[in-house]
């Protein structure tokens, strides 16, 4: 049985179809990158995996059971921004998850329990390279360090699935390369299943075991919202030659251009 199964999934907002006829099986341990132009439903799909959005029809299963209708500890998330709590220090941010698990009423722990959590948090923070800023607040960290913190915060819960929503979109290219290395290392060391949404096709091609391209197959010039996107390319790690990259790029860019023209016209 696959970890994640998607069967004939549709997502509509009113008359606008975002996703149509989506079918997908993802095994435990895969690293899927989701690419596509804006408005092609890759973030919507991620939010459905998260439990923040529900499918309009079709099935979304985890371990053969319907996905819970709200977020939970088995699915970790890192957003592009606002993933960490500004009022907690780095260490406290990472300790928060286990503390909430152990203390249902106060959400705080003391004594030996706290010490164990603290050690686990320090261990994970060392893994992501933040051992030297344990007592700083997130506002004192750089963008890249904040994202490392967000990843550590998600990892301490030992989630079955780690969801990354354009996690490096706001970072400089150099730092982004470091982060790719970090994420790949953590994925291997912790046996994670990762879904990562990205704008950057190259990033999607270089990272992970599987590339999912979200794109619209049918385009209606009169009603741009009539047809939704689906997965047009599902490429395993071997199929990453430049030829395929340019084919995917062309297809995605054509849709992107179509959508932006339609949206501008629609706005006027």
């Amino acid at each position: 049985m696959s970890l994640i199964e998607v069967r004939q999934l549709w997502k509509r907002y009113g008359d606008t179809v975002v996703l149509e006829k989506l079918n997908l099986n993802v095994e435990a341990g895969e690293f899927c990158t989701l690419v596509g132009t804006s408005g092609c439903g890759k973030t919507t799909f991620l939010r459905m995996l998260l439990g923040d959005e529900q499918p309009s029809s079709g099935e979304l299963l985890m371990d053969g059971k319907p996905m819970p209708r709200e977020p939970g500890p088995e699915r970790g998330i890192v957003f592009q921004r606002y993933s960490v709590f500004p009022h907690l220090s780095v260490l406290r941010n990472v300790m928060l998850g286990p503390e909430l698990q152990q203390s249902r009423f106060l959400g705080r722990t003391w004594g030996a329990g706290r010490k164990a959590i603290r050690e686990a948090a320090e261990h994970i923070l060392t893994q992501v390279g933040l051992q030297h800023v344990l007592h700083k607040y997130p506002s004192e960290l750089s963008g890249g360090m904040q994202q490392r913190l967000a990843i550590a915060q998600a990892l301490i819960m030992k989630p079955r699935v780690l969801l990354l929503d354009e996690p490096f979109g706001a970072l400089d290219p150099g730092i982004r390369a470091d982060m790719h290395e970090l994420v790949l290392r953590l994925w291997e060391e912790n046996h994670l299943t990762v879904f990562m949404v990205t704008h950057d096709l190259k990033e999607g091609f270089s990272l992970g075991t599987r590339l999912l391209v979200f794109d619209k197959v049918r385009l209606d010039p009169q009603v741009p919202g009539a047809y939704g996107a689906t997965i047009t390319f599902d490429l395993p790690i071997g199929r990453r030659d430049t030829d395929t990259l340019s084919r995917v790029t062309r297809s995605v860019q054509a849709t992107g251009q179509f959508l932006s023209e339609k949206t501008v016209k629609g706005a006027v």
Binding site: R81, L100, G107, Y137, E140
Partner: protein
């Protein structure tokens, strides 16, 4: 250099800040002198000396009738009413703001009521308060609460709603409950915002306090001002107004400093704008 790029340095900035105060003081003293030179019994712009005398009489000499130091007992009475009123309002705002901002169900039930009630002009229902709660301390405190609480509740609710929705999702992925969200994420983050809401509402709290004291009281800063108004005692009114202003300013400053001391993470991004 362009005007918009000229920033005064420390000693100059202090001097520039003091300048308008000194100008106002000089203006008053000249005007007062001019009027007193024409008519030594003029009461409108009393001299500095007569104001000092009045403060000396009220603050440092026992009142012959009651045996109290009127200035201090007025201050104590007013501050007590104000602090109780603000305290109740702030507690209500914190509690209701966190609940309404966090739970859509609570917002559906109480949101419209709070919005409508906050539109009731508090002074218009002051007579009702006097009828219902009598002329004692209670009606004055209630007026402050009614005047400030609904606005504060709306403001706090909005500030909770302004927190990024990602935080609530993140907390759920950390295994947190609704209660955890309120206790560990929302409450600590809106405490500094509560202090700034209190700062904004202090002005109207003083307004309602003075209004209530002017109408029915036996002591208090507002009561004294409206009492001596009958005798045109500007030598008492002006020091009292200055004293109220000073108290309000110190409270505002105290709240701001407390916030900076207790919530450094909140002010980290704001230092440049201060």
């Amino acid at each position: 250099m362009r005007l918009m790029n000229l920033r005064p340095q420390r000693p100059l900035a202090v001097l520039l800040a003091l300048l308008p105060f000194i100008a106002l003081l000089l203006l008053y003293m000249t005007a007062s002198d001019a009027r007193l030179a024409e008519n030594p019994n003029d009461k409108l712009l009393p001299s500095m000396q007569s104001m000092v005398d009045a403060v000396q009489r009220l603050a440092f000499e026992e009142d012959r009738r009651s045996g109290e130091y009127i200035f201090w007992s007025d201050t104590a009475a007013s501050l007590q009413r104000l602090l109780i009123g603000i305290g109740i309002s702030a507690s209500m705002a914190l509690l209701a703001g966190v609940l309404l901002g966090t739970l859509p169900l609570a917002r559906a039930v109480a949101g419209p009521v709070v919005a409508v009630v906050s539109m009731v002009p508090p002074l218009a229902i002051l007579p009702i308060l006097f009828i219902v709660f009598g002329l004692g301390e209670l009606s004055k405190v209630v007026l402050i609460v009614i005047g400030t609480a609904p606005v504060m509740i709306r403001d706090m609710t909005q500030r909770v709603l302004d927190l990024p929705p990602e935080q609530a999702i993140k907390l759920q992925t950390l295994g947190g409950s609704s209660w955890h969200l309120m206790l560990r994420v929302v409450l600590p983050q809106v405490l500094p915002r509560l202090l700034s809401v209190i700062r904004l509402c202090l002005g109207s709290a003083w307004l309602f306090l003075i209004a209530a004291e002017a109408i029915a009281a036996t002591e208090g800063l507002g009561y004294r001002i409206f009492l001596v108004r009958r005798y045109l005692s500007m030598d008492v009114i002006l020091p009292y107004v200055l004293w109220i202003t000073l108290l309000a300013w110190v409270m505002d400053l105290g709240l701001r400093k407390t916030s900076q001391l207790m919530f450094p993470w909140f002010h980290a991004g704001q230092e440049r704008n201060a």
